[in-house]
């Protein structure tokens, strides 16, 4: 059978299969073992189905693929319009990839209200995928808000001591910020009569919709605030450490792995996509915030006594890199930013997974309670080392590619961005290796640590895919980069930044052959029409 015939429906299927699973779970008897297996099965099937996306993705093609555009609500004119390009393609796969791992991570650690837990997880999956595939602003907001409830409930119901505080803080931060985005979306609708991303983008780019400078400013900020809270960008990051520390392991993995990416994805897709001129105008202070985030996040991470908090602050730092790459307006920077989103999902997701595994044994995240684990848990120690190195950005592991491209891009934008950003690499090496040293080397300071079992088959099954992904993504980035690069070229053309073929940098041949000669100046005004294929 020709699987390509599923193309228009595959996204809908991947998105709503988890919901179907959640509904089935609702009427499931409360047999915990069956519920776990069922959730695992659903998430695995979803993952396998999502592999259809890169399989049939046409790298050279313009615009969005697997598009489906159906009228949903007539007044206002809301469409169920979904599709992916090279940027969102891999984020969808990342989400479905992390999901079975999360189920495995919660296998034993969740033993109370198991049914509710997996229902929430599956609903969350639908909402997260929906965010990445929505091409209708309204639909996007719909899914964006829909991620909020399950995540807040996951933190609040299954978290640790201060879970309620963390859940409410998470909810309010995101909710309040996204209200501004809603206002901006409605305003755009009132002016254009459409919620369709592609249509609005064309109207703005072609000058059909002229925005006064104040209007453009407020619209830009409306979107920006919502995304900046999610990323989180300094100084809006304060919810993140609380949420991470209190969240159950699976919650942390998804929060770091996917939810934060929704912020950077939003910046890239909407802030750059819709308001390129505004984005340029605000580049200096956003870059400054990103740099502060990189350095501040790293410094704060260094002094954390709690390993989950340390990883959380490292996320602030790493996501600072992503924002740096996005707002460099260079092709390298944006390629790197997208790649770094995936890397961060893999490596930080893995770090939280590993932290959760040791927590299951000792019920503490305090670094000082550990030490000398390498002798007694060799397999665990090895995995942790690989992931640590991937997070630091050791060459041949995934983190290196992303950071390198981002820094190359920011140097092109302005040397000072690159120089300051590069310090982040040093900081991250410092705090991560120090963490590793304190936890795994030296003598066993607590008797009980000498008796810990090494990770078992189920736990290894959860870590292996992440470890393999770290290596493969570090060795063969072009597998991912082909699709990403084609999409980021278009973003760069649209925003009028520098286009440079990635093959020149990574030293591999690439199929991207267009517009090496794009002129930075007029690029922002001319593309769209034939570009977005509508």
């Amino acid at each position: 059978m020709n699987t390509a015939s599923f193309n228009p429906y595959i996204l809908t299927l991947v998105t709503f299969l988890p919901t179907l699973g959640a509904v089935l779970l609702l009427i499931f008897p409360r047999r915990e073992r069956d519920i776990r297996w069922f959730a695992l099965a659903i998430s695995l099937i979803t993952f396998l189905l999502s592999l259809h996306l890169p399989w049939h993705y046409r790298n050279g093609a313009e615009g969005f693929q697997y598009e489906l555009d159906k009228a949903w609500i007539t007044t206002p004119n809301i469409h169920y319009h979904v599709g992916v390009d090279g940027i969102s393609l891999w984020l969808v796969v990342l989400t479905t990839f992390l999901m079975p791992i999360c189920v495995l991570a919660s296998w034993k650690s969740i033993h109370d209200r198991v049914k509710e837990f997996f229902i929430l997880m599956l609903l969350l999956e639908t909402a997260m995928i929906g965010v990445f595939i929505a091409l209708d602003l309204f639909l996007f907001y719909f899914f964006w808000e829909a991620t909020l409830i399950p995540m807040a409930l996951l933190i609040g119901m299954y978290g640790h001591e201060r879970r309620i505080y963390a859940a409410v803080k998470f909810f309010l931060f995101t909710m309040v910020a996204s209200v501004f985005m809603l206002a901006a979306i409605i305003w755009l609708y009132a002016k254009t009569g459409s919620f369709d991303f592609v249509v609005i983008q064309q109207m703005i780019a072609s000058g059909q919709l002229t925005l006064s400078s104040t209007a453009a400013l407020w619209l830009f900020l409306g979107f920006f605030v919502a995304f900046a809270v999610k990323v989180p960008l300094f100084p809006l990051h304060t919810w993140l450490p609380d949420a991470h520390v209190e969240a159950p392991t699976a919650g942390s993995i998804l929060l770091a792995g996917v939810l934060l990416k929704m912020g950077t994805y939003g910046l890239l897709r909407f802030n750059l996509g819709l308001f390129p001129d505004e984005a340029h105008r605000h580049q200096p202070w956003i870059m400054a915030l990103a740099l502060i985030g990189i350095i501040y996040g790293a410094l704060v991470a260094m002094v954390q006594p709690n390993m989950k908090k340390l990883i959380a602050y490292s996320s602030v730092s790493h996501l600072g890199f992503v924002v740096l790459g996005i707002f460099s307006f260079t092709q390298l920077g944006i390629d790197g930013a997208v790649y770094q989103m995936l890397n961060h999902g893999v490596s930080t997701g893995a770090l939280f997974l590993l932290a959760g595994q040791i927590y299951d044994r000792r019920h503490t995240y305090e670094i000082k309670d550990y030490g000398g684990l390498a002798t007694h848990m060799p397999v665990y120690a090895t995995f942790f080392l690989v992931i640590t190195l991937s997070s630091i950005g050791l060459p041949l592991l995934n983190g290196f590619i992303g950071e390198f491209l981002i820094l190359a891009g920011s140097f092109q934008a302005k040397a000072v961005y690159g120089i300051l950003g590069a310090t982040g690499v040093i900081w991250s090496a410092a705090y991560m290796l120090w963490l590793y040293q304190r936890m795994f080397y030296g003598n066993v300071t607590h008797e009980v640590n000498a008796t810990l079992r090494d990770i078992d088959g189920r736990e290894r099954t959860a870590v292996w895919p992440l470890a393999i992904a770290s290596v493969v993504m570090g060795v063969a980035p072009m597998v991912w980069m082909n699709a990403i690069d084609a999409a980021s070229v278009r973003v760069v053309e649209h925003t009028g930044g520098q286009v440079q073929q990635i093959g020149e940098v990574l030293g591999t041949g690439t199929p991207t052959n267009h517009l090496n000669q794009a002129q930075p100046d007029n690029a922002s005004s001319q593309p769209s029409a034939e570009e977005h294929g509508r």
Partner: protein, 479 residues
């Protein structure tokens, strides 16, 4: 000679009145100790029959009884809302009246007769008729509010509601009188025709006075002070009823009076009232520890959001349809929330404080899940009717360039998330105080909850048809 089509145009009211009387009369025939469940069932049948009558009536649009009432899409819409709300209230009463040992006959009879008033409010186009309809529905609720005879707060509720309510209706009547003086008519259409050629000062005053009267009924600031006390003391099914049914009907009246007469000078009145209602309602709700009081303040805030749609005067059809949609989805989610609260409150309404809800997610996952759905809808989370309600209101406001009002509204709805969320937090994230199992939900209340949940989700996923109908009605209203 009155043509028979006229009777069809008030058929729902006739059906309701007959059933109301049947229930009242049948009550004494029951043995002192016997189960009077049947009365509730008869009332529910009456309401379903009235619903059928409404759809039948919808095929005979036009005016009746010498231009007293008009059947159009608008009145059909509010008939359906009011009857469904009453139906939900009756269904949840099955269990309630039995548990609280309340006399069945009067209770059901008054609900049905009150619904007659609401129906008439929706279709009346004559100010005196509106006044009478308003009184029919109000007097029923005054009495119903005091039905928990052994509880002092219920009597307080009834008395307070009655005194302030009568005072407010007097304002309305005064407004009607002045309007008659200014235009020489009490018919909404003729007032409209007369005011089109310039409005005398008296018309402004009349408008303001009528606004005070209706403002009281719908609990908008600054006429909202009675709400928390009344809602706290009244029996919960009645709170569910009066915070949605008569309220929706009163909004229908307000829409008819404001847009039907194209009366002058009420824009700022509505604007100020909307802002005050949203702010005072939400701020008040923030500090409540009694769930009924919290929902009372929230209902003030929601009346405020609804008024925002009124202010969208530049695109009246968008504004009116948004207001109508809001009234419908507010009815669904609010009645649903009160249905859960009513069931959970148990004998003598013991458990109405937020502490009692701790760990409800563990004690009764279904009740907690339903209440969560309704609360999320009240917050305005996607996939629920509350979301589209707010969305349409704010879109309408923005299209009329009411940026300031929209911003105030949006900030308010963000603030409101906090107190709804607090209840969800209590239900799921705190440990239960007792392990005592929650009494299982019986058929009636369960059906009412399911009805509200279905409506909430339906309006949140497929709002097309309801909104389309509301738009059509809006066009018949302004023409």
């Amino acid at each position: 000679m009155i043509p028979s089509a006229d009777y069809i145009r008030i058929l729902p009211e006739i059906v309701l009145a007959i059933f109301g009387m049947i229930v009242m009369v049948a009550d004494p025939f029951f043995d002192e100790k016997s189960d009077r469940h049947a009365l509730g069932v008869v009332s529910a049948i009456g309401l379903v029959a009235a619903l059928g009558a409404t759809f039948y009536m919808a095929q005979y649009p036009g005016t009746a009884f010498f231009n007293m009432v008009r059947v159009d899409a608008f009145s059909v819409f509010f008939h359906v809302v009011a009857i469904l709300v009453s139906l939900a209230a009756v269904l949840m009463s099955f269990e309630y009246v039995e548990r609280q040992k309340i006399r069945h006959g009067e209770w059901y009879g008054l609900i049905l007769l009150g619904t007659v008033g609401m129906g008439l409010m929706a279709s009346a186009i004559e100010l005196v008729m509106i006044f009478i309809a308003l009184e029919i529905s109000s007097i029923a609720t005054y009495i119903l509010a005091g039905f928990r005879r052994n509880a002092a707060e219920s009597s307080e509720s009834s008395l307070k509601y009655f005194l302030l309510g009568s005072f407010a209706t007097a304002f309305f009547l005064y407004g009607v009188a002045l309007m008659f003086g200014a235009t020489g008519s009490t018919n909404v259409d003729m007032i409209g025709a007369s005011l089109r050629n310039g409005a005398p000062t008296m018309a402004y005053l009349a408008m303001a006075l009528m606004f005070v009267g209706i403002g009281f009924k719908v609990a908008t600031a600054p006429f909202q002070v009675w709400t928390p006390d009344v809602y706290e003391g009244a029996p919960t099914p009645i709170v569910a009823l009066m915070s949605s049914g008569p309220k929706a009907a009163a909004f229908a009246v307000l829409l008819r009076v404001l847009f039907g007469t194209q009366a002058p000078g009420w824009f700022w009145l509505v604007w100020v009232s909307a802002v005050l209602s949203m702010c005072l309602g939400n701020l008040g709700a923030l500090v409540q520890s009694n769930v009924k009081r919290m929902l009372a303040y929230s209902s003030i805030a929601h009346a405020g959001y609804l008024l925002v749609a009124f202010a969208a005067v530049r695109h009246t059809d968008a504004g009116i349809s948004a207001a109508m949609f809001y009234a419908a989805s507010y009815a669904a989610m609010n009645v649903g929330a009160f249905a859960v609260v009513s069931h959970f409150a148990s004998l003598g309404e013991r458990y109405t404080y937020i502490d009692a809800y701790a760990g409800l997610g563990r004690r009764s996952p279904i009740l907690a899940g339903l209440l969560t759905l309704f609360l999320l809808s009240l917050i305005g989370i996607p996939f629920t009717g509350g979301f589209f309600a707010k969305f349409y209101v704010f879109t309408a406001a923005l299209r009329s360039e009411l940026v300031g009002l929209t911003i105030i509204g949006v900030i308010n709805s963000a603030v409101a998330a906090y107190y709804y969320l607090r209840l969800i937090v209590y239900m799921y994230m705190r440990e239960p105080l007792t392990d005592e199992p929650v009494v299982p939900v019986r058929f009636g209340a369960g059906f009412a909850m399911a009805m509200c949940a279905a409506a909430t989700i339906y309006l949140g996923v497929l709002p097309n048809r309801v909104l389309g109908y509301a738009l059509e009605s809006a066009r018949t209203l302004v023409r």
